[in-house]
Subunit: 365 residues, 2 copies
């Protein structure tokens, strides 16, 4: 991609990708262990964030993820009952973009030392998020790891939180969604994101630290939606919207999907490129306006649009590829489910993703 | 239980149990989300470390765990290709004691900053362990979390590692193993453990630190099996033996199992009590001799047998309940699979677990 600034978040996306590729290489060598047996790994989701496994007629998806350094924001604000929505969103929405309706979740909380009240808040939030997404929490572990866990020194408990979710292939689909059936001219529908979701916090925290100092979370929030959040801490803690129920409802209604992208680390273009197969590209000229907090961070931190669109979702949390004739019905279905959605652009026969946004045009090859 | 010394490992088992019970309470409230649908949670494994979920005719088990502070030993020794056996053992053996043959594993590595070579060693070891246990690695995530991850300062990379494993109910079983069909007089077969597995490291490290100082891992190992390990670091790093293939082979052979316990944190009595239902108890008078490293730690650290048997497996990694008439065949089958096994005792009509070990008799109510 052309928009690749030098490591502004303090870690290298490329080094992470290299290690992940290596790890996936080792993993693939073990697929033969289940060939023709329960737990057989289907290989047709190569490159996605969910994998398909089969048990008889059951075709399941599995996805693992954590919520990264957003936890520091919760530690600073002292509120822990919203992170469950982030935890569920990260895996449930990786499943639904492959066509798996999330059904079960197992979570692991690693703590430095236990605080019963914080764990209670975390689990209450996870319970609420799983009710929202119609998921059963069927596994869990809390591990006390002392100095192996760090975080904000003022917090009652430092912790990391990750989960593995399982989903069942939607009965209307003959195979997982992969983008292989997409064609030039198809519509791309965007789902608005009211938050950072659980990505891009290293860059956001670094920027706020530089501009506002150590206690940036207590600084008055001055984004365009300042009526909603008193402090920068609260603005950054805004929970992830879980899209899986809305997408499952689309599929239940028989509306056609040819691919879907969950916009996480790497931003709109990087994540959408994963579903562009057969040499297709896209022009997205009607994305949502940038999330006000992201817009304001760019202003006070002097960040370029290239950097912002690489690390942050910029207000769009998911993209769905559908047939032009069904685009309006897809948008209407999502709106009926309570989401903010609009047609954001179209697929093109020419490679590359073009984002036409307020600040100009960004091209990714 | 009667043998409950005051917190010698630096954390409270009771506080951990209270938080886990609370978390499980929140989790159970979400089971209704999948009632009568794919991913339905069966509630008959209450209190176990694996949960049953159903997809049509597929009856799956799911279990999540990490390898705790054993990682510090690997960081000190500088060897990372054995921890995969610990990671697989923790979840695969929680599944097999409930009758689920492990099929798939998803893993998450949280790191402070990425070291490609360390990740490569970890994943090579995980690959080897999954080949041993006939598991496919069908999910993974590496997260760079900066100062949220700590560990031994001299290591190339600090990290925590956890996994979620899925298994398929063995076709010979009408329902998961739970201990409900066990009866007084049945035999208890023990599987020898050649290592600490992945539990009890807080106490082991604390003891060595106190006696041998900061660089305890480099101190010459002087246990009874000192021919096998040069240093205390190497002795403590000995990988977990994965029992699931041996137990699956028993079931394949049609041998009867009425319950099984994976001996992890909490030791022999605490873990075995979970499978004692209907008011049954047990006398275990022929357990394996304590692991030499554990024996030597008791000597140099002045630890009582009560403490040692509460925090460590003491040489027995799994206990299986079988019919008296089948006990010899169960032992023979496990030996044929390459494990060291023996009849360790019997179930009793009276409650409580009695361990008759070298140091005397330990009773747990």
């Amino acid at each position: 991609m052309s928009a690749s600034p030098e490591n502004p978040a303090g870690y290298s996306i490329e080094a992470g990708n290299a290690a992940s590729r290596n790890a996936y290489g080792w993993a693939k060598k073990t697929f033969a262990n289940r060939a023709g047996k329960p737990g057989e790994a289907a290989q047709d989701l190569d490159g996605g964030f969910a994998n398909e496994i089969r048990f008889g007629n059951a075709r399941l998806g599995i996805s693992s993820d954590g919520i990264g350094t957003k936890i520091e924001v919760a530690e600073r604000v002292g509120r822990y009952d919203t992170l469950g929505f982030d935890l569920v969103a990260m895996t449930a929405d990786d499943l639904i973009v492959a066509g798996f309706v999330p059904t079960n979740l197992s979570n692991i909380i690693d703590v430095n030392h236990l605080d019963y009240g914080v764990v209670d808040q975390l689990m209450r939030g996870l319970h609420d998020a799983c009710n929202f997404a119609q998921i059963a929490i069927t596994g869990g572990e809390i591990a006390e790891l002392g100095n192996r866990i760090g975080g904000w020194p003022g917090a009652a408990m430092n912790f990391n939180w990750c989960s593995t979710a399982i989903g069942s292939l939607h009965p209307s689909l003959a195979r997982p969604l992969s983008g292989h059936t997409a064609e030039a001219g198809m519509a791309v529908v965007a789902l608005q994101s009211p938050s950072f979701r659980s990505n891009g916090y290293s860059l956001a925290r670094k920027t706020l630290q530089k501009v506002l100092g150590d206690n940036w979370h207590e600084a008055p929030y001055d984004g365009a939606d300042a009526d909603q959040y008193a402090t920068w801490g609260e603005a950054l803690l805004a929970p992830s919207l879980i899209y899986s129920p809305g997408v499952a409802a689309l599929l239940d209604a028989g509306l056609p999907l040819h691919g879907a992208a969950h916009i996480t680390g790497g931003g709109v273009a990087d994540n959408f490129q994963r579903v562009l197969k057969n040499g297709l590209g896209a022009v997205l000229d009607n994305l949502f306006a940038p999330l006000p907090a992201m817009q304001r961070l760019c202003e006070i931190g002097g960040l370029s649009p290239e950097t912002a669109y690489l690390y942050w979702n910029m207000g769009t949390g998911m993209l769905l590829v559908t047939e032009e004739a069904s685009a309006a019905a897809v948008v209407a279905s999502l709106q009926a489910s309570g989401y903010v959605a609009q047609v954001a652009g179209h697929l093109t026969a020419a490679r590359g993703v073009t984002l036409r946004v307020e600040s100009g045009e960004l091209r990714y090859e």
